[in-house]
């Protein structure tokens, strides 16, 4: 399915804001038909295949995941099996193992499961970024990533969760009005509540027991892995001309080993 078609599907499937919800249920059902084969099943499966066949399938898996990653779309195991693995289901674990090895050895990337319930995978950078100097060749910077960085900063500074209204008001102060078409971002509300959510940079969920219905934002799993909280604090410090250490709680969180080690090894991709 092309991304374009996927988008129109999402739009038409539901007019409500929680479009991804109805989408997810359907995905889970599909995935339920796939069961991990056992080690002996894999062994028997491999005996029936030539080395070239296994190599070919591994290459297809690597390419499929790379294409999805370019658009920052997490890969669902169900899709991978349906569109690429196909008749090779019995040797799925072996092929994924080889694909992961290729990502690490050739591309310096790591395939990570960000959602163990729905079996969703993303690629993160596996190269040590702590010593990296600015590269002489840069991808033209994506203005949407700037917007995302601001949103993540707001959430982080407010303790990890922010109500929708507060987010929109904060963005309005920065002259980004979710109710109006933005010159660079287009439909701002859609970029934030749909695109960033699908890419797993943000979580956008309904607050229980609210009438009228209210939503709140949190960091998505990809942000946890790819965005350094220390860098966010550094950015806020410069913006507000304040010492990052003065935000005691945030500073502690940003420099606790658990959160910073993950992000520093994955860089900004």
């Amino acid at each position: 399915m092309t991304q374009r078609k996927r988008l129109s599907n999402v739009q038409s499937s539901s007019q409500s804001k929680r479009q991804s919800n109805s989408f997810m249920t359907q995905e889970e059902d599909e995935d339920a038909t796939f069961t991990q084969p056992s080690t002996s099943q894999v062994q028997r499966g491999l005996e029936k295949l030539t080395a070239a066949q296994v190599d070919q399938k591994t290459a297809e898996v690597v390419q499929y995941i790379l294409v999805k990653d370019q658009k920052k779309i997490p890969v669902r195991r169900a899709d991978l099996v349906k569109h690429v693995i196909k008749d090779y289901r019995t040797v799925y674990p072996e092929i994924i193992k080889r694909a992961m090895l290729t990502f690490e050895q050739v591309f310096g990337l790591k395939l990570v499961e960000i959602d163990s319930k729905n079996h969703m995978y993303v690629l993160v950078n596996n190269l040590d970024a702590s010593t990296a100097r600015p590269s002489p060749v840069e991808r033209p910077s994506n203005p949407k990533m700037g917007l995302l960085f601001v949103i993540l900063s707001v959430i982080f500074m407010k303790g990890g969760v922010v109500r929708e209204n507060l987010m929109w008001n904060t963005l309005k102060k920065l002259r980004v009005d979710p109710g109006q078409r933005h010159e660079e971002f287009g439909d701002v509300r859609k970029v934030i509540t749909d695109e960033f959510v699908r890419q797993r940079y943000l979580e956008y969920v309904r607050v229980p027991h609210t009438e009228p219905v209210e939503y709140e934002f949190r960091w998505g799993q990809r942000s946890d892995m790819e965005v350094s909280k220390a860098q966010i604090l550094e950015f806020m410090g410069q913006l507000l001309e304040q010492d990052p250490q003065s935000w005691t709680q945030q500073y502690r969180e940003a420099h606790s080993t658990a959160s910073s080690s993950q992000a520093s090894s994955s860089n900004h991709r």
């Binding site: 991304q3 297809e60 390419q63 050739v106 310096g108 190269l127 002489p136 991808r139």
Partner: protein
């Protein structure tokens, strides 16, 4: 032979994947940078060997870093090519079916033209013969802008040409699809779109503009390297290495 890669190789590959295409100078700077970052030995003239090592590991994935010349300025560029899908199908994740049809039509126009260009008017007119959902004028214009942004086409004064990256990535596809029409440059033997053509009807060889510049440089009376007829076209200047970057 596949070789062990270091993190320098991996960083080089990641950067190339992110930017799509780089010219030779950028590639050299990037090579240096990757070696420095990961404390690898950087031998200045060994960029091609460095890339060869990466290619040896990309080959089983049907991918390759390939070098090609810009028809615009004659400089060398590097692009990561997907050998499994060297045709238009690789664009299906970004473009709708009718958009791809129009891109194919644009490709037809460019290949069958003498100078490797298609005017926006001709492209707009070609929507009349579309078999999939016809694109409106504004949609076509928007699509052309996207194709330029995504680095498949280049635009200058309302005329569209294939980008260097597009030629490097789709050369095998274009060669198979347009066997009859496609000509190669008499000098560098690469596929030729923007070029000069020998006016001797029994010859008609093509030479890229930058190849013309290099080949005829300093010659008093330019003659066709194939039939020895007088070469009647204006001989372009050899462009300096540091001219503006056109991918």
């Amino acid at each position: 032979m596949s070789r062990e890669l270091g993190d320098g190789h991996r960083r080089f590959l990641q950067t190339l994947m992110a930017v799509g295409v780089t010219d030779e100078q950028e590639a050299r700077a990037l090579y240096q940078h990757c070696c420095d970052t990961h404390t690898m030995q950087c031998i200045p003239d060994k960029l091609d060997e460095f890339i060869e090592a990466i290619n040896s590991r990309l080959q089983p994935m049907f991918m390759q870093i390939r070098k090609g010349m810009s028809e615009e300025n004659g400089r060398q560029y590097y692009a990561l090519v997907n050998m499994a899908e060297t045709d238009i199908t690789r664009m299906t994740s970004d473009y709708a079916d009718n958009e791809l049809e129009l891109f194919r039509k644009t490709l037809d126009l460019i290949v069958s033209s003498e100078n490797g260009k298609a005017s926006s008017t001709d492209i707009l007119n070609s929507t009349d013969t579309m078999t999939s959902k016809k694109l409106k004028k504004s949609e076509t214009e928007h699509l052309l802008t996207r194709l330029v942004q995504d680095n498949w086409l280049c635009e200058r004064r309302g005329e569209y040409t294939l980008s260097t990256r597009c030629i490097i990535e789709m050369e095998p596809y274009i060669r198979t699809m347009y066997q009859e029409q496609v000509k190669v440059c008499h000098i560098c033997h690469n596929i030729a779109f923007q070029c000069q053509i020998c006016e001797n009807p029994s010859c008609g060889i093509k030479i890229h503009n930058p190849c013309v510049a290099r080949y005829f440089k300093g010659r008093v009376e330019p003659r066709c390297p194939a039939c020895d007829d007088f070469w009647p076209h204006e001989i372009p200047e050899v462009r300096g290495l540091r001219s503006q970057s056109k991918r």
